[in-house]
Symmetry: D3
Subunit: 128 residues, 6 copies
């Protein structure tokens, strides 16, 4: 199985990233994704630094960002990411009704995507 690097076994540069993740998120341990990514400390750092920036509140609110993230993860078939970002979306306020509507939109997009590709529909000039 995948090697997961726990805090106690991690070198200093990995611990520094783990510390920042735990501080930023107010949690006591980091998720398996980070423990697996620690196989390459520079990649771990670059990914975390960018994620922290991208997911911070901005013109889009945190729940919208999580739903977009989850939508991409579903379309890419990433089981781990689906599990982790479904949990994150719930933590940011997604209730059962929102989740049902979200799933309905994803399903709708999936089917019209494949229909538009199957039919090779030319882009309408109005779309710019």
């Amino acid at each position: 199985m995948t090697r997961l690097i726990d805090y106690d076994a991690a070198p200093a540069e990995v611990r520094a990233v783990y510390d920042d993740i735990m501080r930023t998120r107010g949690v006591r341990d980091v998720n398996n994704f980070w423990k697996a990514l620690a196989v390459d400390p520079p990649l771990l750092r670059a990914t975390w630094e960018r994620l922290k920036q991208v997911m911070a509140p901005g013109a889009l609110d945190p729940l919208t960002k999580e739903l977009v993230y989850l939508a991409v993860s579903i379309a890419h078939g990433c089981t781990y990411c689906i599990a982790s970002h479904t949990a994150a979306a719930r933590a940011r306020g997604m209730d059962e009704r929102m989740y049902g509507e979200f799933l309905a939109v994803v399903a709708m997009a999936a089917q019209t995507n494949r229909l538009a590709q199957a039919l090779r529909v030319p882009v309408d000039p109005a779309f710019g």
Copy 2:
């Protein structure tokens, strides 16, 4: 190229759907997607009826739904859908800052999706 069925050349059952699309959206013509899908009138009707229901305002607001739709379309590589739902998202209030943040989230998800799959990260028990 794809056969597009214009209103004037459409049979009655297709015109009825086009009429409902134009009425619901307040537009003077339907997009190429519908004109291509009209190759099979029952499929046209079923797709439109479902889309109308799914994209109506609910627990999620219309812009959030468009962003989720667009995210899936990008991950599926559907050029037509990307063009049409980028336009729809703008029409529902997406400005340049929101668009930039949306793209950043999509890019982030794309890269972490592939990293999590590459590393075969086991799902954390905490995700449920």
Copy 3:
């Protein structure tokens, strides 16, 4: 643009493959796919030899094989392949009603695929 190697400009080993394609299919020229693949003659030959074998009539009839081919091509978003295998399916007897039903199945699969992945549904023991 992609370099397409026409018969007259092709080396002998490429011409031999083109000749076999034209003879097998009863056509006067080969499609652009083969003219592009001719950039690497051994790859051209291996791909054609295998395709000829795989698409020959067997336990599955030629139209069913074309529909399976087309379904995969749509899900992979390959515009060229969608165009060429839609034409091939029509040539093997796909009429408008069949095409409509085919598209409906593809759309149905696309949406339930993404729903099953989103929900991380555990495989039923009964499926084996």
Copy 4:
């Protein structure tokens, strides 16, 4: 893990859909897919109603529809769907020779799809 809603724990609107699935298919229980989708009763109902319609015998026979469904599921990498539709295809008459030929077509499509995309092959005018 995913929450699966069993018949006994299901609200009336979910039971009504389960009843219709069991009656239509002549089975004593519904698959996990439906038990997971029941998280959102309207989505459950809409998905089942559409599936029932789309998979009914028509211009295409039920086995052909299952093979198309399975082909899409493989290309989307949906493990659950692959398991369930391989079982369904067998139940509709797919024997080992058909399965072998089906797999060969899927593999052929997968490789030529990526080759055609890699080479950016322009669509032949003859394909329409």
Copy 5:
């Protein structure tokens, strides 16, 4: 679960392929992939014969070929293939630094792929 056909239970034509795999690779048993593919002996043979040819040393060295294979497998979300080709790449000399850089390139490609598609960037004339 998937039926895996072991050497002792395999018919002669399957054993002949297993023997060639073990001889070529200098191993004592074949991987599960081949034991599953043995469900269709002609497909097993064709796949192995082609793989042996394609992965042999040539203008590209074996490690580069494995990295390309692994990159495709990650983008297709094939868990089995990721596991098997990560192991193969290590066996051909991929060390931890190479692996980290490889992952960084895959992640970079994943994100710029989706950005280029999202933005519908027109191909530069200079790319040919």
Copy 6:
């Protein structure tokens, strides 16, 4: 069509990135990808800074990195990326024989990926 922001029309923060791209690559203009990404200057900067780092020579040579990048782009069906990274691979030394072998590996991976997923092959314990 996509809005492309040329140097002369670009704000200072975008020009600074364009200048660094041109200097680093020794070219007189930037590709359309950057001109499209300039719609969001912070995203443009972050993407370029990371790309510059990731594609620099390291434990893997620049051609290998380009081939990995190209392989991912093909599997994601990104036409723009395929065009740009095929050109980049040629610029870094990919000749016709290498290209043919590269395509053969991509095609091989595509087909075995889908076969392994179709057959739901369990990961061999030996792969770790």
